[in-house]
Amino acid sequence: MNATPKIRLRDVRKSFGSKRVLAGIDLDIAKGESVVVIGGSGTGKSVMIKSIIGIILADSGVIEVDGQDVTQVPASQRDEVNRKFGMLFQGGALFDSLPVWENVAFGVIQREHIGRKQAKDRAIETLAKVGLSADVAELSPSELSGGMQKRVGLARAIAGEPEIVFFDEPTTGLDPIMADVINDLIISVVKKQGITALSITHDMHSARKIADRITMLYEGKLIWDGPAGTVDNSGNPYVQQFVNGAAEGPIKMQVRR
């Protein structure tokens, strides 16, 4: 409680029409901490991250980054805030009209207005951090496998040396081995650069591995929060059911019979 949290959410709410997605989220993330939000598909995990970044505007509530309420920041200064962020999107969201290196250097080119040659060198350096060689730089994103696209996405997210990185389902759609490679990369990248990380996933293996702290989103609220090691003995029936992947339990899936 001595330092200002890197990210602080207070009573963040968001509805789409009559559908309430976030019903009052409270969350503190300390500097350098890696927090993973678990929860079923369609429970609003992505909405939570996107409202922090400002892609989606929350209906109400306080979202503070370094103690500054970013919901009150005027649009013209929003870029200043977004500089602190990097994001790995679920499907990679690489720009398919640009080669890999331009994807990675995109943010750097926009922000620092450096020459293309210099930007390319920076991009190749960043690609090396995620274990990709320089030959990948010239390829188009559509020529890459899913795992490589994720890695390029990760390289793009960290290329601007962000203070906070968001990971949206970093391991979804990958084979278990590639998923673990991505987990290792996330750990090495985040820990090495002292980055604060907020991830969302429903892959428990990944969550246990990359998280310092795990919290669970259910029906628009964070219903449990604890150190990653205690997730298996949470004593919370909802978390218990999710962690064990049981169909029977307090969480009722809407399955038509």
């Binding site: 994001m87 720009f95 943010g107």
Partner: protein, 259 residues
Amino acid sequence: MNFLALIGSVVLAFLGHLGRLTIFTATALSHCVRPPLYPRHIGRQMIDIGYYSLPVVGLTAIFSGMVLALQSYTGFARFAAGSETAVANVVIISLTRELGPVLAGLMVAGRIGASMAAEIGTMRVTEQIDALTTLSTNPFKYLVVPRLIAGLLMLPALVLVADIIGVFGGFVVSVYKLGFNPAAYITNSYDMLEPLDVISGLVKAAVFGFLIALMGCYAGYHSKGGAQGVGAATTNAVVSSSILILTFNYIITELFFGT
């Protein structure tokens, strides 16, 4: 009661669209006049819209000019002999005032409006537009503004070319099929033409180019729901820009020539 509810929901949906489109247009325009612009992107869009539409627009123009000469000749023959002057006049005035901008506009709407909606729509559903925001890049500046500027500038250029090719089409049919005197045809065309005929056509073209790009970007930007959503966005872009082209064609004609 259900019938009233239906009317209400249709009206509300229409007003919602209108509001979103207005905000979209205002935002896009405000970004047009604020740096940074992306000259490389504007250039690429100009090549896409201008250069690569030349074959389509050229073919449309030459056949329109040809058929116009043929039709007006057979039509005028019912009333009077000596329709040589009238054919040349009809061809050049209808092309520069009406057919050039409208046909070029409709062809470009099908070609460019659709591809803009599909490209931006795909970027929307694959989160590439969100990714732009996280990389300190305004999607309006990066995606919309270059297309609007390129559309606004390139369509008049296309229409100018279409006017010339169309008149050439009329000339070919008149001279080689109908046996007109070539020198007299050119004199007749040129004498009748007033600057305003061409200028009004080019103004129309600029407006149409802007509308095509605007509707393409708008439909793409607001598309949702995967492949089907992008398909719907493409259809919407082409249909709405075509209708707007025809509507604005009347309005601009009224402004220029209505008394």
